[in-house]
Each structure stands twice: as structure tokens, then as C-alpha cells.
Symmetry: C2
Subunit: 197 residues, 2 copies
DNA sequence: GTCTATATTTCGATAGAC
DNA sequence: GTCTATCGAAATATAGAC
């Protein structure tokens, strides 16, 4: 059943490139190289196609956040995740959907997006809390809030990159955030180079 | 010529609510309470309507950034602007457009968006540079970068708020950013409570 | 399971009367 | 300047043969 697979892939890519409203079932069929009848055999319509495509895109995006739970000092994991390459001008596969009213008004689609951000947010929050415990961030930091701040920097970075048609605003926004993390960490604590529980 | 005005207003609101791809000329006419012939008399088509509507929305959004150039200490102006109320779940009239491929691929529309972000960015940058000079932010801060970071926090806040269908993520993301600014400022400088040139 | 009609509605725009 | 009528194309889906 490669048709189902191909249709899901094509829809995921088209949702990324054009959004929900601007993607027609016909576009999807053509990109997947699949006939119309075949498509309506596998999926009831555009909505179902979007759900399947969405689940896949979210898996891809969430997989990247596992860095936050990986090895190394918490602050190091945070900076490593922030430093990962992001195609700014292409936008975020997941975040872009929040601007599509037809997605937001579809409870199932919106639910998928909300869950994805929540899962990612918890990973952020955990890593930040560990960094505070380790003295790598000041105690004044509220993990749940900083988690949203850093998620927002990334999502906003996509917006700015697309506005300017350039990767640079995304990278600069992240550099600015990292610099702020360093400055906040700096003079207050850190007696030695990490490694203290 | 109230028809032109009404059409522009209706288009601006619909672009905000639904985006470009999902807004039809018919929708605009109906909301404006104007006949079809009348609309095509005033505007050559959807594109021209969008340009007019866009200019208006951008004026509205940019007007709010004048706080950054207003009275008070630089850091105070920055925090005042960050603290301004923002309808997170409604999204940003300007930023939302960057996710619409039909807007991004339209040089005139994209140009308007890019210019708007650039103007706002310069106001941010100036206020930040003044804050650094006044010792309210550490010298390690690169104004152009932090400007993009804070713009991104706001734009990303909209994304997160829409994802969760709640104002809270927007507000929390901004609180997290303000806390970070405080922490970065904190122990390093600030001998007395401001007022030193 | 896949294909080629075909149907219905909406989109975006034009024509031409008033 | 505004209106109604109409157009050709596309969106979304169904029907029914293979």
C-alpha cells in the first residue's frame, strides 16, 4: 500500500509549503502520482489526509527535541538544541499551522498541534529546571516561563526569516537568546566550570 | 467614497481572521456591504485590495512600537512595550502573513511585511543600544541580535497562544524574557537605581 | 485498489445596464 | 459609482467502470 504512504508524504510537504487552505486534493494526488479514485479510497477527504500528514510531521519535529533530554550538562543540551540548523525561510512544519484558521477551527488538527507544543514544552521545561538546579541558570528563572520564551524565539525566528526572505534573522535571534542566557548565568554563580552537583 | 474605506477595512479584518488564501473577494464584499461591481470599480482585484488593507494594518501595528522611542529609561520603555496587551489567540496582523505562501510569493505584499519588521526592528535596536549605554543591559549584548530575539519572542508568543487557544503562553513567554533581561542586567552593573547618564 | 468521468459549489473576474 | 448577470477555471467530492 504505497499509495497511502505517498499521499501522506505529499500532503505533509504541501501543508508545509502552502498551508492547508491553499492545498487542494488535486495538488496532493498529482504530487503523489496517484489517481483521484485511489485517493478517495484511502482517505475520506482533505481533512483525513491532513490528519495523517500532520501526525507524521509532528513526529519529525518532536524527534529533534530529544536533544534536550540527551547527554551532557543541561545548559549544554539547551544550547545544542538552539544551535541546531533550522530552515528559517521554510517555516516550521508545525508552527505554521497555527496561522491557518481552517486548522485552528478543526478540533482534531488543532489538538495535534497543541499536543506537539506541549510535549516539546515539557522537554524544554525539564532541561531548564535541571540547569537551574545545577547553577547554570539563576534561581530567579521560572522554568515553565523560560521554556515558552525559548520556544517562542524559535517560532518567532521562523516568522522573521520568512518576512525577510533570509536565514539570518532566525540565526541572529537565537544568538541573541543564547547571549542573554550567558549574561544571566554569568556573574551570579558558576564558581568552577560546571561538574558540581 | 465610503465604499473604498469599507472594503479596505473589511479586507484588513478578513486577512487577520482568515489569511489571504482563505479570503475571497466575495467575502470582502459581503462584509463591507458593497456590491461586486463597486468593488471592482475601486480595486483591480484581490491583490490590490490586499495591498490597501495591508498598509492600514501595518500602520496600526507600527504605531504601537512608538513606545520604544517614548519617554523614560531605555529599559523601562522596552519593558513597557513588552508589557503591552496583545491578543495572542488572534495572532499578529502582520506576522501571520509570513506563513501565507501566496503573500510571500507576492513581491509587493512581502515587501510591505519586510519593511514593517525592519522599521520595528530599528526601534527595538535603538532602545536596546541606549539601554546598553546606560548600563541597564550588559555590554555583551549585541543590540541588533537582541532586537530580533525580542521581536521573535512576541511573534512566537502569538504562535504558542494560538496553538493552545489561550492567552497564557504569550504572557508567560514575555514574562520569561523580562526575567532574563533582569537577570542579565542584575549583578554586573547598576550601582544605583538608574538616573545616571 | 485504481482509474476516468461527472457533479456541485466557489473563486476571481468581466460585461454591461442603470 | 453601483448594480446584476454571466463566465471560465478550480476546488472538493461522487459515480461507476475496470
Amino acid at each position: 500500500m504505497t499509495a497511502r504512504e505517498d499521499l501522506t508524504t505529499a500532503m505533509a510537504d504541501l501543508l508545509w509549503e502552502r498551508g492547508y487552505a491553499a492545498t487542494s486534493p488535486k495538488d496532493v494526488m498529482e504530487r503523489a502520482g496517484v489517481g483521484q479514485g485511489s485517493m478517495y479510497h484511502h482517505f475520506a477527504g482533505k481533512h483525513e489526509l491532513a490528519v495523517a500528514a500532520f501526525r507524521r510531521s509532528i513526529d519529525v519535529v518532536l524527534a529533534a527535541t530529544s536533544v534536550l533530554e540527551g547527554e551532557g550538562d543541561p545548559i549544554e543540551r539547551i544550547e545544542r538544541y538552539l544551535a541546531e540548523p533550522r530552515p528559517g525561510t521554510q517555516g516550521c512544519r508545525v508552527g505554521r499551522m497555527t496561522q491557518d484558521p481552517q486548522v485552528v477551527s478543526d478540533p482534531e488538527l488543532l489538538g495535534l498541534v497543541a499536543d506537539a507544543f506541549e510535549v516539546a514544552g515539557r522537554r524544554w521545561e525539564r532541561a531548564i529546571a535541571e540547569a537551574v538546579e545545577a547553577g547554570e541558570l539563576p534561581p530567579s528563572v521560572v522554568p515553565a516561563e523560560l521554556a515558552l520564551t525559548l520556544q517562542a524565539v524559535i517560532q518567532g525566528g521562523y516568522v522573521l526569516a520568512r518576512a525577510r526572505g533570509s536565514q539570518e534573522p532566525m540565526d541572529a535571534a537565537i544568538r541573541g537568546a543564547v547571549a542573554l542566557l550567558h549574561a544571566a548565568r554569568g556573574p551570579a554563580t558558576s564558581p568552577g566550570p560546571s561538574s558540581n552537583e
